[in-house]
């Protein structure tokens, strides 16, 4: 059995908005094993980004707060750590890359300044060795002239290059977990292919676990080992990558897969999911997907289904599978 790197138990992150409480993340449980790439999938507002920010301890405060649950990184509960202790974790144990790298790079500092500060702070290396390490990292992510790059400012780089700098920075302290929040969404397809390839190489080389957050099922299929599907703040399905795309169980997962136009093969008409994603903070009785579900029956509108374990790796939150297998 592989060792567990991250374990999230009953995590709840709530927001206060106009005196109402928005349950952005509403009781989720999952695990990430060593060296595994786990994708967190869902549409906007499903709580996937808020989950990652909760793990990093970056939930916007004071309006947002992790109100309940545990986030265990190698047995240490991050939810209880002080901000000072989180400083030592962020960047060292868990690193994060974002959708738009320009917003996470400081425009008035050179790439070298920013990369070195991370390495010096966490690895406590003298400047010369840190520089050596920085050059090594930049070469690793595919830059041919890293010495020159260290002296450049972020605005001189293209989107793809910036994202590679971010990956170099994230990997420089050899983190246990890399959280990638829509890492290729802002990139063009040919550049996206480069970055995805790089992330694959890196996860193998460093045996780093990756939590990949994305809305793009194609990217998931390229990169992930296991998939967690979220809807309206809850997990609706967990499955291995092949199981998920070959035999999706939850009607929402089925809908998601069917509504994506495919590059191969012809479909006459896309099967859209009716209705809209519920606005955050809407209180829904019963199953949260019931209103849009094409297999809805009476029980769905009255009771909330639990996330049930089906077999070894698979869980689903749906009454349709109440009598099938599992515990």
């Amino acid at each position: 059995m592989l060792s567990t790197i991250l374990e999230v138990n009953n995590l709840k992150t709530y927001f206060k908005k106009n005196k109402r409480i928005v349950r952005a993340v509403d009781g989720i449980d999952f695990k990430i094993n060593a060296g595994e790439i786990v994708a967190l999938v869902g549409e906007s507002g499903c709580g996937k980004s808020m989950t990652s920010l909760s793990i990093m301890g970056l939930v916007p405060s004071p309006e947002g707060k992790v109100v309940e649950g545990e986030i265990l990184l190698d047995g240490v509960n991050l939810a209880e750590l002080t901000e000072k202790k989180m400083y030592k974790i962020r960047g060292k144990e868990i690193a994060m890359i974002f959708q738009e790298p320009m917003t996470s790079l400081n425009p008035v500092l050179t790439i070298g300044d920013q990369l070195l500060s991370v390495i010096i702070y966490h690895l406590k290396l003298p400047k010369r060795e840190a520089e050596q390490k920085a050059i090594e990292m930049l070469e690793l992510v595919g830059f041919s002239d890293p010495e020159k790059l260290l002296k450049s400012y972020p605005h001189r780089l293209s989107g793809g290059m910036r994202q590679r700098v971010m990956i170099a920075m994230a990997m420089s302290c050899n983190p246990k977990l890399l959280i990638a929040d829509e890492p290729t969404t802002a990139l063009d397809v040919t550049i996206q292919a480069q970055v995805l390839e790089l992330m694959k190489e890196i996860s193998i080389k460093f045996s780093t676990s990756i939590l990949l957050i994305t809305h793009d099922l194609g990217v998931v299929s390229e990169l992930a080992d296991r998939v967690i599907v979220m809807y309206a703040g809850q997990i609706v399905e967990i499955a291995n990558i092949d199981d998920l795309f070959d035999y999706p169980l939850h009607p929402y997962t089925v809908g998601l897969i069917n509504s994506v136009p495919k590059i191969e093969g012809e479909i006459e008409r896309l099967q859209a999911i009716k209705g809209n994603v519920p606005a955050p903070g809407t209180i829904i009785e019963g199953c949260r997907f019931a209103k849009r579900c094409n297999k809805v029956f009476e029980r769905c509108t009255k009771e909330m289904p639990a996330l049930r374990k089906m077999d070894g790796t698979r869980s689903v939150r749906c009454f349709l599978y109440d009598d099938v297998g599992g515990e």
Binding site: D188, T190, V219, G255, I257, S259, P261, I263, E264, I267
Partner: protein, 353 residues
């Protein structure tokens, strides 16, 4: 036009052929369209160069078809869409709509003709809707501007009907744009484009900002409207899967140039241009049981700047199949097979194809 006289000569059994001729009637013809933006520098803002956003592009759009235009950011696809209807004044070339050259028309003549018959749908509908006007007023505006319908009641009727067509409740007339979700706003954007009964709709990344489940709804809606109102679409998008789904023919742009243009099935099953091949292979796909593993061509480097494009073929700096001629000679878009156009020196010699 030609189609009526054709009917007289063809036997009724040959209706299929007639339909084909009508179908292939050209609605829009673009000839050598150029859109350059000056780069200014210094105190007196001297022009020191040009960004060649659209550089010498020619193609036809047939009546009733959907022409997909794909390309990565900065390839000039959106600029081209805008230059077509003179939201930018093209630097050169001509755009013939039903035989009339749009680029030569004075602004006054443009309105009744082009501003009515060609409409645009944008990526972010919220940015193109006035937040201080109710939906009803937003949709009534174009009708008033073009002096359609005699009175307010008739206009209201028309708008109610239109809202139902795009899948919104007619009571939403009194709501303001901020009260709608992203998908609903795109429906409003579509209603706004349809209100003048256009013939051609240019959709610029119309579904790119939407969640997949909503995206599918809007794509289906666009398809329904096309058959219902006999619309012609130019569908500009970076999403190759969406274009495969919606388009009949596809044009591929790279750094201001059209590098390939062909029927959708030809492009997606056997692309000719090395850029198209790389682009298609780079799209992340859902792998299900039975999905064939495709070879991935990973292009090196980034897209060069369009203010200083490479000499010869603009793609030669990244092309895996580069030959000597590519560095110096600009390849022209040529018909290498019936209805298949490609701009690449690999196909200079017709025997190769």
């Amino acid at each position: 036009m030609g189609s009526t006289s054709l009917l007289e000569f063809t036997s009724p059994l040959n209706m299929e052929e007639v339909n084909k001729v009508i179908e292939e009637e050209t609605l829009l013809e673009v000839q050598n369209l150029k859109m350059y933006f000056p780069i200014k520098a210094g105190i007196i803002q001297r022009v020191v160069g040009h960004v060649k956003a659209v550089d010498d592009i020619s193609f036809r759009v047939r009546k009733g078809e959907t022409l997909g235009i794909v390309g990565e950011s900065g390839c000039g696809k959106s600029t081209m869409g805008r230059a077509l209807i003179r939201l930018y004044e093209p630097t050169g070339g001509s755009v013939l709509y039903d035989g009339i050259d749009i680029t030569k028309l004075p602004e006054r003549a443009l309105r009744p003709l082009i501003r009515k018959k060609i409409q645009m749908i944008f990526q972010d509908p919220y940015a193109s809707l006035n937040p201080r006007k109710s939906l009803g007023n937003l949709l009534k505006e174009p009708l008033k501007a073009h002096g359609l319908y005699a009175n307010s009641t008739e206009r209201n009727e028309k708008i109610k009907e239109l809202l139902e067509v795009v899948g919104l409740h007619s009571s939403s007339m009194n709501y303001y744009p901020n009260e709608f979700s992203g998908g609903q706003r795109q429906r409003i954007g579509i209603a706004r484009a349809l209100v003048l009964n256009p013939e051609l709709i240019i959709a610029d990344e119309a579904v790119s900002a939407l969640d997949v489940s909503i995206q599918a709804q809007i794509i289906n809606l666009l398809e329904d409207l096309q058959s219902q109102f006999n619309l012609t679409y130019i569908f500009i998008s970076h999403d190759l899967s969406v274009v495969r789904h919606i388009a009949d023919r596809v044009g591929v742009m790279y750094l201001g140039k059209l590098v390939e243009l062909a029927d959708k099935n030809d492009i997606y099953s056997e692309a000719l241009h090395p850029y198209t091949q790389a682009l298609l292979s780079a799209v992340p796909t859902i792998r299900q049981k039975g999905t064939i593993n495709r070879d991935r061509i990973i292009l090196k480097g980034d897209i060069p700047s369009s203010s200083n494009p490479p000499t010869g073929c603009v793609f030669h700096t990244r092309c895996p199949a580069k030959i000597k001629a590519c560095e110096t000679i600009v390849p022209q878009l040529k018909e290498v097979q019936p209805n298949r156009f490609v701009a690449c020196h690999l196909y200079d010699n017709p025997q190769i194809v």
